[in-house]
Symmetry: C2
Amino acid sequence: MSTKPAVNGAHKAAIRQENEEQILAAAERVFADFGFKGATTARIAETANVPKANVHYYFSTKEALYRRIMEDVCDHWLEAAMTFDNSADPAVILRGYIEAKMDLSRARPYGSRLWAHEIIRGAKFSSEYISSTVKNWLDSRVVVIRGWIDEGKMDDVEPYTLMYMIFATTQHYADFGRQIEIFNNNKPLSDAQFAEAKENVVRIILKGVGLS
Amino acid sequence: MSTKPAVNGAHKAAIRQENEEQILAAAERVFADFGFKGATTARIAETANVPKANVHYYFSTKEALYRRIMEDVCDHWLEAAMTFDNSADPAVILRGYIEAKMDLSRARPYGSRLWAHEIIRGAKFSSEYISSTVKNWLDSRVVVIRGWIDEGKMDDVEPYTLMYMIFATTQHYADFGRQIEIFNNNKPLSDAQFAEAKENVVRIILKGVGLS
DNA sequence: TTTTAACCTGACCAAACGGTCAAGATAAAT
DNA sequence: ATTTATCTTGACCGTTTGGTCAGGTTAAAA
């Protein structure tokens, strides 16, 4: 078929990248659906449309593949985390963060569900990452929130509880998406329904902490 | 050892009950920790301190054991659900329901985590139960909330979103307990910390929907 | 054109899995 | 005392699993 010459082995590199991406995407889905132990390399291979042996050609073990995907998921979450700066109005910042996390649950539900699996299982692969990178990020945001409280900009709420509430509620739309779908007469939330949910979540939380 | 005579085979019945309970308790833990596929009958047997073959003597298959535990978990949840009546003051009712769910997450975290596994996996064993019993319960509570809104007792929020928020936040303390523990300097929340969290969750939600 | 390095994959393997079973132990009924 | 019904368990089995590997194909380099 395509016998492009391509400078300096660009074709081979493209093949590698495309296959890796295909396998990673498939693995993210399968791990999210079945958890680490429940996911089988055969199913990942089938989903990615490659022979099973090829999965092991690109990723030495199932665990290596799992770790790689966890890293990718974390990268995306830290991006969303960056919307939580500490310069502007608390209401604007919190709204932006909640909306970013809701959007991420909608756009990348598999990542969120994978994370949920990992934590429920006891965070065996990621406890180090959580206790360093994630904890540092969380603690710094708590300081910011305590600052707002001290300045009288919002109610005196326990900041960790507030953050956990935001985590839980936003990720619920990914992790428990199937349950929400069943409650919604077996139909996934429409864009309009999701937008309404997002707006309500923002409104309830902001008002709940005295920011509206 | 104990050779109590016991009227009408009471001893055998007691043995049966004790073994079943031991296996059920072990299975709830193991299923919660590893999910359906990840849990092994060998591990359940080991946790219950009985030989593997004995697990199959009392519960024909792994799936039968899983279903039985799911039923038990649901029964407990419906109990908590009953605190959500529609007679009294909305703020009192919502507070009571949220507190009951928080307490359940604290007392029976394995049940909550088992449920989370089940939903993330696509609710293959329980979609029928959710779309009938649970959905009926939820829909009737939504009607109650809509009534409160129409009577001007609370803000005009989308009732399902509010309920999902309560589900997500309260269950987060069970499902993501390990993550919370890590954030809390690798120590489980103390009773005082948990009580503070519970009070904050209630306060934020009630104020958020205009009930305080 | 030849060589080399990377990619591909059907066939295979040891380990772990859910589940079975025969044979023994124990307690209730006769 | 004997029979009967239930409980107990080590050993076993077919299947599925993650992972390997030899031998092939393809594309880049020489």
